[in-house]
């Protein structure tokens, strides 16, 4: 089995909030367990699409869309649904398939943040604002698709710094941008000379095995 195929199962580990708190009969059988909302605020995905609804950078934190085609379908429906709205001055909001989506458009870029339908809308909006501010800073106010593609690495790092496995890491745009934009050399960084050696050993062993 290919290494990449395993991602589906490994991702299971990362989901949070989606499962109701596990019942160990601590309620002393007084009433049936019900899924109640007490979990941490959870982000299901963050999307950055272009003016035709195609991906620029996306990150999914929920396993609600298990396959790539499900993801693409979601992106398509969300894009068609919001395309005609004017979300250029203030962030807008809509609902789709029991999800709440807050979004904002700038030039030819469309920013989306998705959460469950019982999520606090304002938390989602804060995350969106953080993402948007960070991207604006990283692209030096040139928030457009071309610039975004040329700095795709920065945007992906930015997504990584905002949310980790659905949990909000940071919401302040300038702090997020600050964490991402450090492209300098660090001589103190550990250099892995040993790594090459380990790879050689590994490859040698797998050669012997096959």
């Amino acid at each position: 089995m290919g290494l990449l195929e395993e991602t589906g199962t490994n991702k299971e580990i990362n989901k949070i909030g989606s499962s109701p708190p596990s019942c160990e009969h601590k309620c002393y059988g007084c009433r049936p367990c019900e899924a109640i909302q007490e979990a941490c605020p959870t982000i299901k995905n963050i999307l950055l699409l272009d003016s035709e609804g195609k991906r620029v950078a996306v990150k999914y934190y929920s396993d609600e869309w298990p396959t790539n085609s499900a993801k693409l379908a979601f992106e398509k429906s969300i894009f068609t649904k919001t395309q005609k709205t004017n979300a250029r001055t203030e962030a807008e909001i809509t609902m789709l398939e029991n999800n709440i989506i807050v979004y904002k458009f700038v030039q030819d870029l469309h920013f989306f943040v998705t959460g469950g339908d019982d999520e606090n809308e304002l938390i989602l909006a804060t995350v969106l604002q953080g993402f948007f501010d960070a991207v604006t800073l990283l692209l030096r106010n040139n928030v457009e698709q071309r610039e975004a593609l040329e700095n795709l690495d920065l945007i992906l790092l930015c997504l990584d710094e905002i949310v980790d496995g659905g949990i909000v890491l940071e919401t302040d745009g300038s702090i997020i941008a600050g964490k991402v934009a450090t492209h300098n050399m660090d001589d103190g960084a550990p250099l892995s000379e040993q790594l090459l050696y380990e790879i050689r050993i590994f490859l040698a062993f797998s050669a012997v095995e096959s």
């Binding site: 290494l3 990362n14 304002l122 700095n151 795709l152 980790d164 960084a189 790594l195």
Partner: protein, 999 residues
């Protein structure tokens, strides 16, 4: 084809950009850009770039690529490879760019289009080259070339990595070796000291989710990073390591993680805490040991560390109610800094409130003050979270609700759409349970109808429809009409459904609501939307008798210009059933016959059936219907011709003369067997070749797992056209037909009422049995629906032994045993009782299922010959007074009440004793009497001290009964009730009082 002008323009742009700084990267990226858009233009741009500027390194790089491209002149796929192999310094650089450009090319403008497996493999090779380049970078360093070179290379590497990451996100799944190849190529980049590049490597590793073997390869590198001096390395290495690690490795690094949790750098602490939250799902026993450190982190000065620590601490302790309560108590007193943490605390607080209940002495709720205090927080996020928490408190009082509603009302006029949406959505939910509390916001809500954001507008309308009173309906409808034209279908459907329920609530307003429905029916719209409207009209026609004529005409007009065959046929069917019962049926004929002339074959055929129904019901129309039907004999479609011939003959035009009753039975009777059962029976029939004709009576009539379905939707009427014409009568019809088909019961006369099934067994027992009580004038028949849930058993001679010793007025007159009950095929057995005529005799019946069990071989499905007698105890049930009362609503209670006259009125007062709430008392009385609540009066506004409930129904012997109930509740929850009954027979009024007095 590109013109010279168009190609020189990007070149000039590049030129300008180059001067701006960050020279080489910009140059490179722009060439990529130009090139990726148009191959030809790109080439020209590169050439002109080379010609026009002289910029050392950049030019050389371009040349490296351009030369190769020109020389090779072949498919880009094969291009990168030979280049990679060259060991010449310059060429290597050129090949690097070539590789990346190639990759970008493959990606076709956006990095996500046209990616394929080959591209990823190619990328891996590029990465190999890149790491090779690292060696080159070191060489370059030795030869004292400037640091900026190194940075440039790292930057392009980083970009290249992000492209391949995007490719992996697309789930391109190469075979094992290739994936490993990508992984190794990436991990080699651990040798770079560039922070950004290292971060990209982390990201790649996370995205690749390596297997255990590969994890080992990177573990030591990651662990080194985890202990490095650079905080960014530490934080990210922790997150990567926790993501890819398993339990055994976790114990090795546990010590570092504990340290990291209390690290003074907030980024590191947050990384460790968030990783802890994730790990709690897989290895809770390890994470639970960190509780002390996490507790320390809750006190952190950094806002987000506090948030993450609180989330983790709560998850660790979530099963210990006392600990959660303590945590909440201590934190609600202190100051939690971050708004996010505050939101979290509010959620935990409402959980504690839910579990602790109201303080009975003072009537106060613990922690309510805290929630109310949060309404004055400076962050909107916290204010909203608190307001929402208050509205969701169980049994929330108006006093508690008011401050939250006030805050939400302020949000309604905010300039931010998100805030408006959040507020209106919460208020919409509140309106379902506490409509009165929301009425204060109605003015703000009405201004939201014209909101740019259609979700907000729709929520506002549905809220208004829920809270509106009878007088505001007309004004509201006017506003909605202007709004309907510019929203999407899905929103329109929501509005239509809200209007339907509003109309059922205020039947007197049916005229304006029906007009509204018909006007939107004429507008543009998709199938789902049209279906929702038609369904609503049908339901209104059914429930509001006054609305029938106008509703039918609206439907007729709709089918004159209806593009949906399904809706046309359904409406024609409905028209056939309801049309003949109206005052002037002839006016519908024109609409129906127009269908025969204008529509497609399917619609024509159903129009013919509808015509026939009119002919059968109304003798005066018969001759004219015959004329129309005869014209249909020349239709081009054979189904239409067949139907016309058939109906002409059955209606008496032809030779076959049928009795009137048979004709009606034939035309209006529906197939009384479930279609799925019919299908299985027919399949079985075809499998055994036999001379016997197929007997429809052999088809089992019970719907599989019917009791389950009914349990799921208690009291939920089937809606719309898909449902039978009238839910109560149609199941009644089915029962009536079923009973009259049994000779023993045929003489009992007309069925008065059939009860809903009453379960006599627990769910998931060996045999599932429920009973339906059929009430006749002088008899009662119990229909036991039995299901055998054991595959290894066949039951035979199934009967129910009924002990009626506690039902004195009843005497058993007959039983109909069930011959055979195979696995999972529901079937019925009946027991009939005689009772005094017209008297609502009550009593309790205990039941025992008796049968012969035969073992079945599960492999062959054959039963053994010998069986064993066995019995199975069922639960008792009662025949109560409510079984003798039919639920029949009236559209205008006041008129009906006054027309009944005060002579038959009986009034008395009753004490109902202490009750949990007024709602509970009202429901108890409604259930006891089995009458239909009118005008939505069964809903008690929360916290009200008194309530009036209006009921109507038909008592056995077809006597109309109207009941007015006035309830009052005092401080000690004692409920008093005044019961006023009017009916066509004063004895019945007394009988109703009797029921209440004895109940």
């Amino acid at each position: 084809m590109a013109t010279p002008e168009s190609s020189s323009a990007p070149a000039m742009e590049i030129h300008k950009k180059c001067e701006a700084g960050n020279l080489e990267r910009t140059v490179f990226n722009h060439i990529l850009w130009v090139y990726s858009e148009n191959l030809h233009d790109g080439m020209r741009a590169l050439w002109s770039f080379k010609v026009e500027c002289d910029m050392g390194e950049a030019r050389i790089r371009c040349r490296g690529f351009v030369y190769r491209r020109v020389e090779i002149k072949q498919d880009p796929c094969t291009m990168a490879q030979p280049l990679v192999k060259k060991d010449d310094d310059r060429d290597e650089e050129g090949s690097l760019w070539a590789g990346i450009i190639f990759f970008k090319l493959k990606l076709d403008y956006s990095p996500f289009l046209g990616i394929e497996k080959g591209a990823v493999l190619q990328e891996a090779r590029v990465l190999m080259t890149l790491s090779w380049m690292q060696g080159d970078v070191r060489r370059a360093k030795r030869s004292r070339r400037s640091d900026s070179d190194v940075v440039t290379v790292s930057l392009s590497l980083s970009l290249s990595l992000s492209l391949s990451l995007s490719a992996i996100q697309m789930h391109i799944t190469p075979v094992r070796f290739e994936a490993t190849e990508v992984f190794f190529a990436v991990t080699k980049l651990f040798q770079s000291r560039d922070i950004g590049l290292r971060r990209m490597v982390y990201l790649m590793i996370k995205e690749l989710s390596p297997c255990a073997d590969e994890v080992i390869i990177v573990t030591s590198s990651l662990m080194k990073d985890m202990n490095s001096r650079t905080d960014m390395y530490r934080a990210n290495a922790i997150r990567v390591l926790c993501r890819i690690t398993d339990g055994t490795l976790l114990t090795q690094i546990e010590r570092y993680l504990k340290q990291a949790i209390v690290d003074k750098n907030p980024v590191v602490a947050s990384a460790a805490l968030v990783s802890g939250i994730h790990l709690l799902q897989t290895t809770p026993e390890i994470v639970k040991r960190w509780s002390n450190e996490v507790q320390e982190a809750v006190q952190s000065r950094a806002a987000l560390v506090q948030f993450h620590a609180l989330a983790l601490l709560h998850q660790i302790r979530q099963n210990d109610r006392l600990a959660v309560s303590k945590l909440v108590t201590s934190l609600t007193k202190g100051s939690v800094r971050s708004p996010l943490a505050q939101c979290l605390l509010i959620r935990y607080t409402s959980q504690v409130i839910r579990e602790s209940g109201v303080n009975t002495q003072t009537g106060d709720r613990p922690f309510y003050d805290y929630l109310e205090g949060c309404l004055r927080h400076k962050a909107e996020m916290v204010i909203f979270e608190a307001a929402r928490a208050i509205t969701e408190l169980s049994n929330v009082t108006t006093r508690e609700l008011t401050p939250a509603i006030t805050v939400l009302q302020l949000f309604l006029s905010s300039s931010k759409p998100v805030l408006r949406f959040a507020a209106v959505r919460t208020l919409n939910k509140v309106a379902m349970t506490h409509p009165m509390a929301v009425t204060n916001c109605n003015i703000d809500m009405e201004s939201l109808i014209s909101d740019q954001n259609r979700s907000i507008a729709t929520l506002a309308i549905t809220t208004l429809l829920k809270t509106g009173n009878e007088s505001s309906v007309d004004r509201l409808m006017k506003q909605i009409t202007s709004f309907m034209s510019d929203i999407a279908d899905e929103f329109k459907i929501v509005v239509v459904e809200a209007i339907r329920s509003l109309c059922l609530k205020f039947p007197l307003k049916y005229r304006s609501l029906m007009n509204f429905l018909s006007s939107i029916l004429r507008e543009e719209g998709g199938f789902e939307f049209k279906k929702a409207i038609v369904d609503s009209i049908v339901i209104l026609i059914r429930d509001i008798p006054d609305a029938k004529e106008s509703g039918l005409l609206h439907l007729c007009e709709f089918i004159e210009d209806c593009e949906f065959t399904y809706l046309s046929t359904q409406i024609l069917h409905f028209l056939g059933n309801e049309g003949p019962k109206t005052s002037d049926p002839s006016k519908y004929i024109r609409y129906i016959y127009n269908r025969v002339i204008l529509e497609n074959a399917t619609v024509r055929a159903s129009a013919v059936s509808t015509l026939a129904k009119f002919g059968a019901m109304i003798d005066s129309l018969k001759p004219r219907i015959f004329v129309l039907l005869r014209r249909c004999l020349f239709d081009t479609d054979d189904e239409v011709r067949d139907r016309a011939t058939l109906y002409l003959n059955t209606l008496g035009d032809g030779s076959v003369a049928e009795t009137d009753k048979d004709v009606k039975e034939f035309l209006f009777g529906s197939l009384d067997v479930p279609l799925t059962n019919m299908e299985t029976s027919l399949k079985n029939y075809i499998q055994d070749p036999t001379e016997e004709p197929f007997d429809i009576n052999s088809v089992p009539k019970e719907v599989k797992s019917q009791p389950l379905a009914e349990k799921k939707a208690p009291g939920k009427k089937p809606t719309g056209l898909g449902a039978p014409p009238s839910a109560p009568t149609s199941t009644g019809d089915a029962y009536e037909r079923l009973l009259s088909s049994i000779p023993e019961f045929a003489s009992f006369g007309k069925l008065f009422k059939s009860s809903a099934p009453v379960e006599l067994t627990e769910a998931e027992t060996e045999y599932a049995v429920n009973v339906v009580k059929h009430i006749f004038d002088r008899h009662v028949v119990f229909q036991y629906n039995c299901t055998n849930t054991i595959p290894e058993q066949l039951l035979e001679n199934v009967t129910v032994i009924v002990d009626a010793s506690e039902a004195e007025e009843f005497s058993e007159v007959g039983t109909k045993p069930l011959r055979s009950l195979p696995y999972d095929t529901p079937a019925q057995t009946f027991v009939a009782f005689e009772k005094p005529e017209g008297v609502p005799a009550v009593g309790k019946f205990s039941n025992m299922l008796r049968f012969t069990v035969k073992e079945v071989d599960p492999s062959t499905g054959e039963a053994e010959d010998d069986g064993v007698e066995d019995e199975y105890q069922l639960e008792d049930f009662e025949v109560a007074a409510a079984d003798y009362i039919l639920k029949v609503g009236v559209s205008n209670f006041k008129n009906a009440w006054e027309s009944m006259g005060p002579d038959s009125e009986r009034i008395d007062e009753y004490g109902l004793g202490p009750r949990e709430s007024l709602t509970e008392a009202v429901n108890a009385v409604i259930n006891l009497l089995g009458l239909q609540p009118c005008e939505g009066t069964e809903v008690v506004p929360s916290n009200s001290r008194s309530h009036t409930c209006l009921l109507s129904g038909v008592y056995i012997g077809n006597v109309k009964v109207l009941v007015r109930l006035s309830f009052g509740i005092d401080g000690t929850k004692e409920v008093a009730m005044k019961l006023a009954v009017r009916s066509e027979d004063e004895n019945v009024s007394d009988a109703i009082h009797e029921i209440v007095a004895s109940g």
